[in-house]
């Protein structure tokens, strides 16, 4: 059992790949935004890559351990300490009953992941332990963790002293600039050639009005193809309006002139076009980007994006870990 001493900023229980199979009732998958770091944390403590752990955002939690266990922290550097002593990231660490693990504000990256040997044992909702904070589903009582809550943990068999080699970790940018892969579509043909060129060659600034439902971007104006302007009136009055349709996860959703990347807790459908889609292999970058940082988008083919996801999956296996 683990007690939440301080909750941090919307720290939540997530599992991977999350709540899959309910998109047609409007349920997003939830799950960790940086699933690369998340999976690595789990395999470090001997769990299946998708076992339930904690996602810490911007400001980490303080946890009191009521049992001996093994933990690992990956992703953003929130300068974790155990009883006041600095802990390394990307490494499995033994924790004794009575010790206190504290995470601070994110210095490098935005989201840290804490895995505990065995995994968190909160009840499943629709086949997943992930928290969908906005709608109050999953987690402990549907929401982010709160001070005073006690998290149940399954029995685990972690080993301390395992490390993720540096070459197998995501490289969190220190220069505040990110190159994010995108696939064209589903609605790239609603944007004119100049608009497509502008999207791929401009700086886009990540707004602070971004959370696990959507990442809002600030940048140049969009221009549209004929198709967006002369269309049946059912589509709606704005060039970026379309008859309500399903939104893929990662869609770059154009609400009027504002692009919003729809992420893990995002809406399943709506009436705006999605000219581009961020593929799953680039989600870790979204998870680690902070407000004010700059995105540049690089177009890749669907096959390239699938290969990238495969390469990340191949990294996140226990056989790749080394001992200290």
């Amino acid at each position: 059992m683990i007690e939440i001493v301080k909750a941090g900023l919307e720290t939540s229980i997530q599992d991977y790949p999350g709540r899959i199979g309910y998109w047609n009732q409007g349920f997003p998958p939830s799950g960790p935004m940086d699933s690369w770091s998340f999976r690595m944390a789990n395999i470090l403590v001997g769990n299946a890559p998708g076992a339930a752990g904690l996602e810490c955002q911007f400001l980490g939690p303080t946890l009191g351990f009521q049992q001996d266990t093994v933990v690992a922290i990956t992703g953003a550097d929130m300068r974790p300490t155990l009883d006041g002593i600095a802990l390394p990231l990307w490494q499995s660490v033994a924790v004794r009953a009575g010790q206190v693990l504290a995470l601070g504000a994110a210095r490098l990256g935005a989201r840290a992941y804490i895995a505990i040997a065995g995994g968190i044992a909160n009840p499943e909702r629709l086949g997943s332990r992930s928290t969908f904070h906005k709608a109050g589903v999953g987690g402990i009582d549907g929401h982010a963790v709160k001070a005073g809550q006690v998290l149940p943990v399954f029995d685990g068999t972690g080993t301390a002293g395992l490390v993720v080699p540096e070459a197998l970790r995501p490289e969190i940018r220190t220069d505040r600039r990110w190159e994010i892969e995108v696939c064209a579509g589903p609605n790239d043909d609603w944007i004119d050639a100049a608009g497509q060129e502008r999207f791929l060659s401009s700086d886009w600034k990540l707004s602070a009005k971004s959370d696990r439902t959507g990442f809002r971007l600030e940048g140049p104006e969009w221009t549209f193809a004929e198709k967006a302007i002369n269309k049946p009136k059912e589509h709606g009055s704005l060039p970026s309006n379309i008859i309500d349709h399903g939104y893929p996860l990662g869609a770059i959703n154009l609400a009027g002139q504002t692009p919003i990347i729809l992420v893990n807790d995002g809406p399943s459908m709506g009436g705006f076009i999605n000219p581009y889609t961020v593929p799953s292999a680039a989600f870790w970058k979204l998870g680690q980007a902070k407000p004010g940082e700059i995105f540049r988008f690089r177009q890749v083919s669907v096959e390239e994006a699938q290969d990238m996801a495969r390469a990340i999956k191949a990294r996140c296996v226990a056989g790749n870990l080394v001992t200290l």
Binding site: A135, G246, L249, V278, V302
Partner: protein
């Protein structure tokens, strides 16, 4: 228009969006739901899930098992085997939901919007004006006369987008601009040509004119009638709103609060598109 062949639009590394046409009509939704149903029955390894919307179907596939072109070929083949939409038959549950039309809560919500945000014609009166009706009583009669088709769910989990099956009950209304900052849970509203029920209190943009005391959303999964699901409806369900008095509304609400309310639902029916179209053809006094 309805496309001669569905269009396959790639959407990242694990989704493909299939468009059947580019207008709002029930036929396109029947095609989307027909394909969703065929995909479910075919249980194709590598197809994870589908989500129908008005005129399209989003498909989530596993690129470890299927490539994009294999996915498109399989779905294209299934879509072709469905033939014309007339041949589509869908399992469809029919829900009867008590509704208090012209209720005090949506009225108060609209008055609050007028006082705080922007002055507007009250929602029921606006619907009467926009659709050339004889008054709010006519609105209530017309709105409660049709079954509503659950075309899709989204925006919020369990929030249904509803189309009236009786063409005579087709109403349209502009959406709020700017949107409301709040809407009572259970409010029934209309925006564009779509109707909806608000599962929880949320911001909103539809014109609201009635309220149901029956919850359509339950985050705990313990409510009677939900069978462990968190929301009441699935695509392809039908809903009929049953006008009730304030006393009846209060009685249902009391039963809901004690978790002893039994949702009235008919589960054994098939929706046959051909029969539906034949019925539409026979109707007198169709509204254009």
């Amino acid at each position: 228009m309805i496309y001669a062949q569905p269009t396959f639009l790639p959407a990242g590394d694990r989704y493909v969006l299939i468009e059947f046409g580019n207008e709002m009509n029930l036929d396109l939704n029947f095609m989307a739901q027909g394909l969703a149903s065929a995909v479910r029955q075919a249980a194709i390894p590598g197809i994870i899930e589908t989500a129908p919307c008005f005129a399209s179907l989003l498909v989530h596939y596993d690129p470890e098992i299927l490539t994009l072109s294999q996915t498109a070929d399989l779905l294209g083949g299934l879509a072709a085997s469905l033939g014309r939409s007339d041949d589509i038959e869908l399992s469809s549950r029919l829900f009867y939901l008590p509704a208090l039309y012209l209720d005090p809560w949506t009225r108060e919500c609209v008055e609050d919007y007028c006082a705080r945000i922007a002055k507007k014609v009250p929602d029921p009166e606006l619907l009467v004006q926009e659709n050339g009706l004889d008054g709010v009583d006519h609105l209530v009669r017309l709105h409660s006369s049709s079954e509503y088709w659950v075309a899709s769910l989204g925006f919020w989990p369990g929030l249904p987008f509803l189309m009236p099956l009786d063409p005579r009950a087709r109403l349209t209304a502009p959406k709020y601009n700017p949107p409301r900052t709040n809407t009572p849970q259970g409010a029934i509203g209309l925006g564009g040509a779509a109707n909806s029920i608000y599962p929880v209190a949320t911001p909103g943009g539809y014109q609201i004119f009635a309220r149901t005391p029956v919850p359509i959303w339950d985050a705990t999964g313990t409510r009677r009638g939900f069978d462990g699901a968190l929301c009441l409806f699935r695509p392809g369900d039908r809903i009929r709103f049953v006008p009730v008095t304030r006393d009846e509304y209060d009685a249902v609400e009391a039963q809901v609060n004690e978790n002893r309310y039994e949702v009235t639902v008919v589960e054994y029916q098939k929706f046959v598109v051909r029969d539906y179209k034949a019925w539409c053809e026979k109707l007198p006094g169709k509204r254009a």
